[in-house]
């Protein structure tokens, strides 16, 4: 305890108790959020190391650093760890767990024990994946396409499948908690249309998790049945249909893309509004576009299968429906941009991440148009174009939003400020490194370089070297926050309760919050982003005088 600045040590959720038991058996949503933060950071590092070796191997056209078998296991580990153990739980399980009860003015989640159970279930899933990694790996790709996964691969498919299966249950538990908490535990006066947009987006995300994840579980069980008992489901030699696997897999995994990006959109809505000092333009449009994305997201899975042998007419329908998702996404981008208009904008680190998010998400979304367009997708499907597209959404979008959110709420979570200069510097480094890594991959993909190749024709080398060089900048960019955030725990400035002068209920309690979040029941009398009414304006505001003149 470095508490020389604290006059009377204030009791909060972190200093209630220091025992390991008090952490491992906690039912406090804030502590569970921290447990998740530690777990997913670990898997982010594992997935990142796998990606590092992949990028190093691709520096040359030959397979010189690793051979095919190892390479295939590395990109599989990268995909499985990043998708199931980092991106899906990232914002919902860390920031969602920490913030949803605070934002709705509740003492905890609706089911605190279920919440703790979800972390243990997640840890079991993580142990499966770790076991597989050390026992020799799995080489099916994170997509597990049958019949390769069900009959042909002789790597650890079953254990990985079990890991993914179990991880699904932990996200279902978190989602149930979020939905029930939002329905039943909102503070008096907090009507649906007064809720922060972050809560709206996590509510929509939770709906997708609950409706989609069971289908993934079923699909994995069917793979297991075919692999273990030769029940013919996907392998034609046993009487199965391999395209059926793709329908089932993408019925979950396309909505899963929205599980991964919607929470990021929620974070960005909060940050843009706070650092522009303005109510988000088109609040209701942003809120309902999240629900629209959740609904449309379930109707577009067949756009992963334009060349798979599904009916040509199914292809036409799925293409048309895929474009329908573009509209609510575009609505969000336009509304965020319009929020800046006539704002009072400052550029702290979270804002840099949020502005970077808008740019990268726009590029990722627009290239989504290419792959939704039938004839163009026929050419770029399963090439690096697709890799670049979804990394713009998942890394350029979701990871930027996640880091923005971590910085934004870091003072609330830890009671310490992060070092602003370092943080701004690494935000810019990550933006530059990211573009250098993934923009060349769009060109590589259009040139025709297929994904999952460890050796490739020589003419692709320049762009691959550029991409690997960018990846090294990106890696350094990620290393900085890891270091200075840890540093700030001991040496960071003490955080006030509302360092950003933001409006949410979470800022009206201490940093870090007391174990029971609020002293007394908060009552909401204003809409979510009423800066005039909710944030005390200590300093003279030059723009207010301007208002009178204009």
């Amino acid at each position: 305890m470095s508490s020389e600045a604290v006059k009377a040590p204030r009791r909060h959720y972190l200093n209630e108790s220091y025992s390991a038991r008090s952490w491992l058996l906690t039912t406090d949503h804030k502590r569970i959020g921290i447990l998740y933060l530690l777990s997913i950071t670990f898997f982010f590092i594992i997935g990142g190391l796998a990606a590092t070796i992949v990028r190093l191997e691709l520096m040359t056209p030959e397979g010189d650093l690793v051979q095919a078998e190892t390479y295939n296991k590395l990109f599989t580990l990268h995909g499985v760890a990043m998708v199931f153990l980092f991106l899906v739980p990232s914002i919902p399980a860390v920031l969602g767990n920490f913030l949803i009860p605070l934002m709705v003015g509740a003492r905890d989640m609706a089911f605190p024990k279920l919440n703790l159970a979800s972390w243990y279930v997640f840890s079991i899933a993580g142990l499966f994946v770790l076991y597989v990694t050390f026992a020799g790996g799995v080489d099916t790709g994170w997509t597990f396409y049958a019949p390769y996964s069900s009959t042909y691969s002789n790597t650890h498919v079953m254990a990985t499948g079990l890991g993914v299966f179990v991880a699904g249950f932990s996200s279902i538990m978190t989602a149930i908690n979020i939905i029930v908490t939002v329905h039943k535990m909102r503070a008096p006066g907090l009507t649906w249309h007064r809720m922060p947009l972050f809560v709206w987006s996590l509510y929509a995300t939770s709906l997708i998790i609950i409706l989609g994840t069971p289908v993934l579980a079923i699909t994995i069980l069917l793979i297991a049945a075919e692999r273990a008992f030769q029940v013919g489901i996907f392998d034609p030699r046993l009487g199965g249909d391999p395209v059926l696997f793709q329908h089932l897999f993408w019925f979950y995994s396309h909505p899963a893309v929205y599980i991964m990006i919607l929470p990021g959109m929620g974070v960005v809505s909060e940050i843009i509004s706070c650092f522009s000092r303005k109510r988000p333009f088109g609040y209701t449009f942003i809120a309902y576009s999240s629900l629209a994305i959740a609904v449309f997201g379930f109707l577009v899975w067949g756009h992963h299968m334009f060349v798979s042998g599904q009916s040509v007419y199914a292809g036409l329908v799925f293409s048309l429906l895929s474009f329908s998702v573009a509209i609510p996404s575009a609505v969000k981008v336009f509304n965020w941009t319009a929020t800046l208009y006539k704002g009072s904008i400052s550029f702290e680190t979270p804002m840099l991440y949020a502005l970077g998010f808008i740019g990268l998400f726009t590029l990722g979304g627009l290239t989504g148009m290419y792959v939704a367009t039938l004839a163009v997708d026929v050419h770029v499907h399963d090439t690096y174009f697709v890799i670049a597209h979804f990394h713009y959404i998942m890394v350029g979008g979701m990871v930027m939003a996640y880091l923005g959110g971590i910085h934004y709420w870091w003072p609330k979570m830890t009671g310490r400020m992060y070092p602003e200069g370092w943080a701004r510097f690494s935000a810019i480094l990550i933006f530059v490194g990211f573009n250098l890594t993934f923009f060349p991959q769009y060109i590589l993909g259009y040139l025709g370089m297929p994904r999952r190749y460890h050796v490739y024709p020589e003419e692709f080398q320049v762009l691959n070297v550029m991409s690997s060089a960018g990846a090294s900048i990106l890696a350094i960019g990620y290393f900085f926050p890891l270091t200075y955030l840890l540093w700030s725990l001991k040496y960071g400035k003490e955080a006030p309760s509302n360092p950003w002068k933001a409006t949410g209920l979470e800022w009206q309690t201490g940093s870090p919050p007391p174990a029971h979040n609020f002293h007394g029941q908060p009552v909401v009398k204003h809409e979510a982003y009423d800066y005039e009414a909710l944030v005390p304006q200590e300093e003279p505001q030059p723009e207010r005088e301007e208002v009178k003149v204009g």
Binding site: A68, Y148, G282, L374, A375, L447, G448, Y453, H454, E459
Partner: protein, 319 residues
Amino acid sequence: MNTEIQFQPEQASTLAPRVDALYYYLTGVSVFMTLLIATLIVFFAIRYRRGNKVDRSPLDLRYQKWMEVIWIAVPLVIVLSFFGWGAWLYLEQARPPLGALEIQVTGKQWMWKFQHPQGNSEINDLHVPVGRPIKLTMISEDVIHSMYFPAFRVKHDVLPGRYTGLWFEATRTGQYHLFCAEYCGAGHAVMKGTVTVMEPSDYEAWLSGRVPDQTPVEAGKALFEEMRCASCHQGGGTQGRGPSLVNLFGKEVRLKDGRTVIANEEYLRESILTPAAKVVVGYEPIMPTFQGQISEEGVRDLIAYIKSLAESAPTGEEP
């Protein structure tokens, strides 16, 4: 290291310039939208930075609804144009023109086998004539593969247990890549080769310069005899234990359960491998399965032979 960067692969098929045109339309719209958003963000960020004295009077919210309507409607029209253009080309890709030269493709871990109608076969490399539509009929022996010709802008998955197809018409002689695009295991990245587009006369010379194996029809006939298919399917007008195969291909077949099916490749393949699935009216399900006894290439040869029985039927030739 070759440091020259290309931005598009060679255009070597009738389809390639048409796909590229759509790609450049998409790119034009994307560049415009990206610049629009980026410019607005930078402009607002500078003009409305905190401390800058500018007009921040409250927005006139009367227009807000109209702005939302505009930025829903305009993108909607644009994406519908993407959809229509892409769908039009996709439908053309899906329909091979009549009279296309049909080449049989078998994919397996980790090689491609091509069988030309004249009997020549090749591994991983493919030779085709320029200016003539080529139709590939493809099947896999094991897992899913995907046949991809970047220079022709075509790709289609190759499935086990089922025929799929793609077609292209090469417009420029030369050598181009041919890749497996669907991850299929350890040798995925080496399951590739070269497609050589030749002048038709060179193609003929190439065909005759290589020792042709049996044509598929001949091979099919030999297999038909080896498997003693004729003991039931002896054809002609006489009622054997199995239905006649003469003049069968492409015709409607009435089944025992009242359905009718067209006797196409898929039906014949199923009837060889799982005969009990669709039994012809008037016959008993007594045929044994040939699953696992005949390779995919063998099945294809048999189908080629049965096809030839339909083409030569008017001359009265008996099997």
